[in-house]
C-alpha cells in the first residue's frame, strides 16, 4: 500500500515524509492546474480546435497535471529504494544545487520565474478577457466600462478602450518573457562559442574576436539596439531578438574566454592532451562543460537585462510592430492617464519589476552557489 501512496495525490508522500516545501509546491501546482482546468472547462475543450497558443496551453496543462503526479511517484519510489533525493547528476553540479537551495531568496526567484512562464503558457485559460476586447465599443456595449478602477471584475482596472489591463498583462508576457529567453539563448550560444575559441586558440584569432567584443561593448546597449532597429525600421520580433542578442554576446564571450584561459592550464587539460585527444574534443568535452556554471550566472542576469531593454524599446515606440501588446508599450499608453487612472501604467511596470527581480535573484544565487567565497552582491 505504502509504495503506491504517490498515486493517490501528488505531493502526499513528500508531505508524509515531512518534506513540507517539496510536498506543498507539488501539491499546489497540481491543484492549481486542476482548478484552472475545471473552472475553464469550456475553454479547455474549445482549445482542441484552437490556434497554436491554445494548443500549447492545452499541452502545458496536461503535461503539468500528469508530470506532477509522475514526479511525486518517482521521487517517492527512488526515496524508498534509498538512492537519496537526486537519483542522477554529477558530483560538482549537485553541490552547486545544494548551495543554491539553501539560499531562500534565490529559490523564491526561481519559483517566481517558473510561475511566470507557466502563467505565460496557460494564458488562454487564465485570462478573464480577450486582450483586445473593447466592451464599450461593441454593438450595444456599456460605455461605463472605460477607465474603470481595479475591481473584482477587472482586478487591475480597464484602460481608455475598456480593455482589461490584467488580461493584457497576461498576453503581453508572451513578448516580454519570450524575447528575453530567445535573445539570451542566441547570445549564450554565439558568445560562448566565440569566447571559447578565442580563449583556447589564442593568438591572432583571439585578438580579432576580442577587439570585436571591445567595439560592441563600447556602445550603450540601448543606443546600439535603437540603431539596429532604425536600420530595419518597422521591426519584427526577429529583428528585436537579434538586436538584443547582438548587444549581449560580448559579455558572454568575455566571460567564457576568461574561464577557458584558466581551465587550459589545469592538470586535467594536460592529461587530456597527454592522452592524445584532439583539440576539438578537449575544447568541447573537457573545457566548455566546466565553463557552463559561470555562464549560467551571466545568462540569468542577461535575461533580466534583455527584458528591461525590450520594455524600454517598446516604451519608445520602437519595439515589435503590429498588434502585439507588451509591458513596455502598456506603460507608454498609460502615461497619459496618470492623474486619475494610475492603474494603467503601474501594473505593467510592476510585472516587469517582478520578472527582472526574479532573474536577478536567481543570477545572484547561482553566483554565490558557484563561488561561495565571493559573498552576496551584485556586479555592474
Amino acid at each position: 500500500m505504502g509504495r503506491w501512496i504517490g498515486l493517490v495525490l501528488p505531493g502526499l508522500p513528500q508531505l508524509l515524509r515531512r518534506e513540507a516545501f517539496k510536498g506543498t509546491s507539488v501539491l499546489l501546482l497540481w491543484l492549481g492546474l486542476l482548478v484552472v482546468g475545471l473552472t475553464r472547462f469550456d475553454r479547455v475543450t474549445a482549445a482542441f480546435d484552437g490556434g497554436l497558443h491554445d494548443r500549447v496551453a492545452l499541452l502545458t496543462l496536461f503535461i503539468g497535471l500528469i508530470g506532477a503526479w509522475w514526479w511525486s511517484f518517482r521521487d517517492d519510489r527512488s526515496h524508498r529504494i534509498g538512492r537519496g533525493e537526486v537519483p542522477y547528476g554529477s558530483g560538482a553540479g549537485q553541490g552547486v544545487w545544494e548551495a543554491f537551495r539553501r539560499n531562500r531568496m534565490a529559490v523564491l526567484g526561481l519559483g517566481i520565474i517558473l510561475t511566470l512562464y507557466l502563467v505565460m503558457l496557460l494564458t488562454p485559460f487564465l485570462a478573464p478577457f480577450e486582450p483586445e476586447l473593447r466592451e464599450a465599443y461593441q454593438p450595444g456595449g456599456d460605455a461605463s466600462r472605460i477607465l474603470n478602477p481595479p475591481s473584482v471584475r477587472n482586478i487591475m482596472g480597464t484602460d481608455q478602450y475598456s480593455q482589461d489591463v490584467f488580461s493584457r498583462i497576461l498576453y503581453g508576457a508572451r513578448i516580454s518573457l519570450s524575447i528575453g529567453l530567445l535573445a539570451v539563448g542566441i547570445s549564450v550560444t554565439l558568445g560562448g562559442l566565440l569566447g571559447a575559441i578565442a580563449g583556447y586558440l589564442g593568438g591572432r584569432i583571439d585578438w580579432v574576436i576580442m577587439r570585436a567584443v571591445d567595439v560592441v561593448m563600447a556602445f550603450p546597449k540601448l543606443v546600439l539596439i535603437i540603431v539596429i532597429v532604425a536600420v530595419f525600421f518597422p521591426a519584427s520580433l526577429f529583428v528585436i531578438v537579434v538586436a538584443l542578442a547582438f548587444t549581449q554576446w560580448p559579455f558572454m564571450a568575455r566571460m567564457v574566454r576568461g574561464e577557458i584561459l584558466s581551465l587550459k592550464e589545469r592538470e586535467f587539460t594536460e592529461a587530456a592532451r597527454a592522452l592524445g585527444f584532439s583539440r576539438r574534443r578537449i575544447l568541447f568535452r573537457h573545457l566548455l562543460p566546466n565553463a557552463v556554471g559561470p555562464l549560467t550566472v551571466v545568462a540569468a542576469l542577461g535575461i533580466g537585462n534583455a527584458i528591461v531593454l525590450e520594455a524600454g524599446l517598446s516604451f519608445l515606440g520602437l519595439g515589435v510592430q503590429g498588434g502585439h501588446t507588451s509591458w513596455g508599450k502598456m506603460v507608454f499608453e498609460g502615461r497619459d492617464f496618470l492623474l486619475d487612472e494610475w492603474w494603467i501604467a503601474t501594473f505593467p511596470g510592476l510585472a516587469i519589476v517582478l520578472a527582472v527581480l526574479a532573474f536577478n535573484l536567481v543570477g545572484d544565487g547561482l553566483r554565490d552557489a558557484l563561488d561561495p567565497r565571493q559573498g552576496g552582491g551584485a556586479g555592474p
Partner: protein, 333 residues
C-alpha cells in the same frame, strides 16, 4: 604613470576607429534613399540627382567611408535631413543639445556614486541587522526597476498629483529644461528654475544607478572588513569609526573606481529613456526623434559620440584606477 597613460590612450585609438566603422556600415545597410526624404514624392529626378551629388551620396561606399572617418576627426558629420533642422550641420544640432545631456548625466553620475557608496558602506558596517536587510531590499528593487517606469511613477507623484492637489508639499515639473518665460528671471532665478526642472530626471537616474552601486560597495566593504589589516587595526585598540573610515573605506572604495567605467554605458542608456519621459532636450531624445524621422546623419553622429564617450570614460576609469591603487600603477611601470 606616464607610460600607463600613454599605453592606455594608444589602445583607445583603434577602438574609436572600430566604433566609427561599425556605426557607418550598420547605417549604410539602411534601406531607402535619404534624398527622397528631403523632397516630396514626385520631385523631378534631376532635382534628386543634384541633391544626391551635393550630399555626396553618389560616391562609392568606400569613398564615403573614408570621408566619414575624416569627418569623425574634424567633427564634421554632414547635414541633418530632418525638416526640423533643415540642412543644419549635424555638429550644430548635436552641440545644441549636448549641454543638457552633460548636465543631467554629470549630476546623476556624481550623486549616484555618492549615495550608492554611502548606503553600501553603511550597510556593511551593520551587516545582518534589520536595517541592512531593509536597505538590501530597496537596493535590489532599484537595481531591477526599469528606469522609464520609475520615471513615470515619480512624475506621477511629484508632478501630476502634486500639481492637481495643492495639498502636496512638493511640486516638480516633469517636462522641459526651463519654465516658459524663464529668460526674464534674474541669473539666480534661472539657475533655480533649471535645478527645479533637473530634479525629477536626475532623481530617477540616481536611484536606478545607486541601487547597483550600493550592492557592489557593500560586497566590496564586507570583503575588506575580513582582511588581516582590519583585524590588526582593531587589535591595536583603534576606535571602530577610525577602523572603518581610515582603514576600511580607502581599500573598500578602490573597486568602485572600476565601476565608473562599467556604469558609463548604463548611464547613457538611461539618459535616452529619461530624456524621452521628461522631454529633456538632450542627446537621447535627439537620437529617438532622429530615428523616427529617419534622419540618418544625426543618428550616425550621435551614435558615434555615444560610443566615443564610453571609450573615453573607460580610459579615464582605467587611469583613475592607476592613480588610486599604487599596485596597478607599479605593475605597469
Amino acid at each position: 604613470m606616464r607610460s600607463l597613460v600613454f599605453r592606455r590612450t594608444l589602445t583607445a585609438i583603434p577602438l574609436l576607429l572600430g566604433v566609427a566603422t561599425l556605426v557607418f556600415f550598420a547605417l549604410s545597410l539602411a534601406p531607402g534613399d535619404p534624398a527622397t526624404l528631403f523632397y516630396p514624392i514626385g520631385a523631378s529626378p534631376e532635382v534628386l540627382d543634384q541633391l544626391r551629388r551635393s550630399l555626396g551620396l553618389d560616391d562609392p561606399l568606400l569613398v564615403r567611408y573614408f570621408k566619414w572617418l575624416l569627418g569623425c576627426l574634424t567633427g564634421d558629420f554632414g547635414v541633418s535631413l530632418s525638416p526640423r533642422y533643415y540642412q543644419l550641420p549635424v555638429r550644430d544640432v548635436i552641440l545644441g543639445v549636448l549641454p543638457n545631456t552633460l548636465l543631467l548625466a554629470g549630476c546623476s553620475l556624481f550623486l549616484a556614486f555618492v549615495v550608492g557608496s554611502l548606503v553600501g558602506v553603511f550597510q556593511a558596517t551593520r551587516q545582518g541587522s534589520l536595517i541592512d536587510s531593509v536597505l538590501s531590499g530597496c537596493t535590489l528593487f532599484f537595481y531591477s526597476v526599469p528606469s522609464f517606469w520609475l520615471a513615470v511613477m515619480l512624475g506621477m507623484f511629484f508632478s501630476v498629483k502634486a500639481e492637481a492637489f495643492w495639498g502636496w508639499p512638493v511640486f516638480f515639473p516633469a517636462s522641459g529644461v526651463a519654465s516658459p518665460g524663464a529668460d526674464s528671471l534674474s541669473t539666480w532665478g534661472q539657475v533655480l528654475d533649471r535645478a527645479h526642472h533637473l530634479f525629477l530626471p536626475c532623481l530617477t537616474l540616481t536611484l536606478v544607478m545607486a541601487g547597483g552601486i550600493a550592492r557592489y560597495v557593500r560586497t566590496s566593504m564586507l570583503e575588506v572588513v575580513r582582511q588581516d589589516y582590519i583585524r590588526t587595526a582593531r587589535a591595536k585598540g583603534l576606535p571602530e569609526s577610525r577602523v572603518i573610515l581610515k582603514h576600511g573605506l580607502r581599500n573598500g572604495l578602490i573597486p568602485v573606481v572600476t565601476l565608473f567605467g562599467a556604469y558609463f554605458p548604463i548611464l547613457l542608456s538611461g539618459t535616452v529613456l529619461i530624456e524621452y519621459v521628461f522631454t529633456w532636450p538632450g542627446m537621447g531624445r535627439l537620437m529617438v526623434d532622429s530615428v523616427l524621422a529617419r534622419d540618418y546623419p544625426v543618428v550616425l553622429g550621435g551614435t558615434f559620440l555615444f560610443g566615443a564617450a564610453v571609450v573615453v570614460g573607460n580610459l579615464l576609469a582605467d587611469l583613475l584606477y592607476g592613480v588610486v591603487d599604487p599596485r596597478i600603477r607599479d605593475a605597469h611601470g
